[in-house]
């Protein structure tokens, strides 16, 4: 049964994730008054990339990519998708956040292993950006954990019987959403990728199947990040309403990123530690004082 549920979670991640990425490209194009690619463009991209013969930069390059994809697949398996929970009771929020770091570390290691300084700079920026967004995000989430007295993600979801956490703790919700934009690497927080500056940063040496596998990893990562936000802040949902809420959050994030320019990396950190972090502390102060609606 667990095996079936894991497979269901992974397949959902694959199909819904790639579809929504295609839709996001379409929306982005329409905002910028272009026609845009079809919604299934990302499926074509992934399979085309996987079927080509590319170049590899040695075993650490390959191993890093395997570790990245493996880590993210493992993380995704622990994330509850509405009422579809692969490991009931074991979906601890800290496990998910830190297991996620395995994938990030694998990718960072593999890409720096390619020996291209553009990749190194991109990875250094990505880690710095992580220092920016993780802290306010985790503080806001900690307020939620403290309020509901559980750190299981599905427990947090089921605790929202009367109202959504987003309405109970609106400031925390906003902080988590801003941090989510940073996690997704969407503009204005796409500094680590920055195609015009550092040649797509970590991805600079990727080709063919390596590119394809990392595209899959990227899709799964997005799925994990948004799922956590939907589970924790947007009320109880079953599988279908979950996907609906997921789509709405994803489209809002896309629309925001479509109209904004890019931050410099130190501006990202400064911004996250000034605005969202102070807001997160305000929110946890409210939680401690019992001012929760």
């Amino acid at each position: 049964m667990t095996v079936l549920r894991v497979i269901a979670v992974l397949l959902t991640g694959f199909f819904v994730g790639l579809t929504l990425e295609g839709i996001a490209r379409k929306i982005m194009a329409r905002v910028q008054r272009r026609y845009g690619p079809p919604w299934y463009q990302n499926f074509i991209d992934v399979f085309k990339a996987l079927s080509k013969r590319g170049i590899s930069h040695g075993w650490i390059f390959d191993f890093g990519i395997l570790m990245a994809l493996g880590g993210v697949i493992a993380t995704l398996a622990f994330v509850p998708l509405g009422d579809l929970v692969a490991f009931p009771g074991l979906d601890n929020i800290f496990i998910i956040v830190y297991l996620f770091a395995v994938g990030a570390l694998g990718m960072a290691m593999g890409m720096v292993g390619s020996g291209n300084p553009n990749a190194s700079i991109g990875v250094a920026r990505a880690l710095t950006q992580m220092l920016g967004y993780e802290v306010p995000y985790l503080v806001a989430i900690a307020g939620v954990l403290y309020y509901y007295k559980t750190s299981s993600v599905s427990g947090l979801m089921m605790a929202q019987q009367d109202t959504w956490t987003l309405f109970k703790m609106p400031i925390g919700g906003i902080v988590a959403f801003i941090s989510l934009l940073g996690m997704l690497g969407k503009k204005p927080f796409d500094t680590p990728i920055a195609p015009a500056e550092i040649a797509s940063g970590p991805m600079v040496e990727l080709s063919a199947k390596y590119m394809g596998l990392l595209m899959l990893m990227h899709t799964f990562s997005i799925f994990v990040e948004i799922s956590l936000f939907v589970d924790i802040f947007l009320g109880i949902s079953n599988y279908l309403t979950f996907l609906l809420k997921f789509t709405v959050v994803w489209i809002i994030a896309t629309l925001i990123s479509a109209v904004l320019p890019r931050f410099r990396i130190e501006q990202v950190v400064k911004f996250y530690w000034k605005v969202p972090l102070s807001l997160a502390f305000v929110q946890v102060l409210f939680v401690l004082l019992g001012w929760v609606f």
């Binding site: 697949i73 830190y98 770091a101 570390l105 190194s120 802290v135 403290y146 040649a199 990396i265």
Partner: protein, 614 residues
Amino acid sequence: MISLTNLILVFLIGSIVSYLLTKANKILGSIFNFLLISYALYVVWNIKVGHEEVLFRILRDVERTLKVTNLGKYFAIVSLIVISFVAFFIIEWIRKKDIKPAAFNSFLLLMVSGILGVFFSNDLLTLYIFWEIAVLGSFLIVPMGKKESKRAAIIYVVTSAIGSYMYLFATFSIYQRYGILSFEQVSQYLANDSSNLFKWFVILFIASAGIAKSGIFPLHTWLRITHGNAPDAFSAVLSGQLVKMGSYVLAIALSVFPTTQLFSSFYHGVPLLNYVLIWLGNISILIGTFMAIRQNDMKQLIAFSSIANGGYILVGLGIMNSIGYAGGLFHVFNHAIAAAMIFLSFAAVVYRTGTTKIDEMGGLIWRMPWTFVTYLVGIISLAGIPPTSGFISKWMIFSSLVSKGMFITLAITFIGSVGSFLYVFRPLAGVFLGQLKRKHSDVKEVPIIMLVPMLLFVILTILIGVYPKPVLDSIVSIENEVGIKAIEHSGTIIKTPLGQWNTLTVFTMFSVGFIIAAILYMIFPKGKKVDLTDQYTGGEYLYNYDLYHYATGFYRFIERLYDKHPSFEKLYEKLVSFFRYIGYFTYKLVYKTSPSGYVFWITIVILILFWVRW
């Protein structure tokens, strides 16, 4: 089975034997060291808790005994595991090193005898005596490293002395007030004492020895210079073991003298004194993390990370609830193992390349793959990423902080945790990944004897990460001993009031994810292997790939934000020059004019002090 007293004596005599043996043959002496330390590990492993021995008597009415407690046994086992692995490493390492091998081996055993005494002493004074023996042994080894090591040793011993004299002062105050010194009695008398001030004073002063030793702010400055300059293999013992002696004293100050019962609650069940200590831990985490991000010397980088991790241990112990205390103790184990394996891998790198500067190296993964694996697993554990053991303790500390509602401390521990991803990546990228430097093209992997302990550490870290039961069991018995509610666990499932997780499921799922990725990798067409010189360069023609490796100023863009940070090292240096000036002034004024007058006045002062009995 040999008694503890004899074991300590064996080590004291062994240090002389080891000196002679090493004089005769370097390798023989090192093997002797390794065997003796392993034997100590075997004895300590099998020793019964509650076993008592009379060692010696100095003061009247004070039974000076050695006593085996769960807490001491846990620390002793962790320490001896680290030291015995390092001793095995030394067998090969010492061959090439142009330090004084005989003295090195002899002092190592002297230090171990001190360590054994510290962890098994049953009263404050015996602990102090053995503490100084351990400090002496390590103090004599530190100057054998680089050029700057002599200064490092002095800074180390002075900082250590500040802490241990404060400790000694508290010890004598207790003896004067109660006439007893053993931990059990002291904690009883303290519980009945009405003076809050005295309790504060005693516990803070005893804790200050631990603060100095485990590199907690404001006595943290010695770690950078000492860890950075000590002999490479000895840095592993310094960071993996000696710093943990400080954590042991902190654990005693906070839990054996039950602070939560001695003082009233200040915030959600945490007394003010613990809160103050937790804040010292917080500051250490911040200093350690942000300074580690800046370092270009890999040993100093991990030295700063030791400060941050000492802070984690203090935060965990300071919370003093079931999960937080367990997290602190577990972190002692994790950091001991992780720091030791990281420093050993650095020692291996220095053994082959002769430098500790990150930007002078690069691409060593192509020459030293097993050293790289050790470093990789070490940093995964240090950064607290599952499936290694490092995550378990960090998770416990986070959980207890959330349930106590200590959000600022929580934010700081998150900064320390995410910041550790940053600083551990710097040597990974700079030393091991990227283009190999031309001058390092004939570097080889280190010999098998050095690899064995490193890889054993790797196995141990992953094993405890998947199956933490042995460590958790000893933590449960410690918590029962000091009267904290024990944590619940069943082998691989760890439970907290906030929820549970299963280490085995996480590991299995990670393996499954990896296998899925590997299958995908294998069914699609194989890539062509190209050299690291075959790169996208933006159309530029490159002739020197040494310069193409990005390692200098790796995080320059964030370092720039705190370039003008206040520095305690500079403040202490100002203090030092102030005292030097005063000394010089006195010398000029008194001694130069009349040495006999100088001696006369000194005698008068001492006599007055003696007469007042102050």
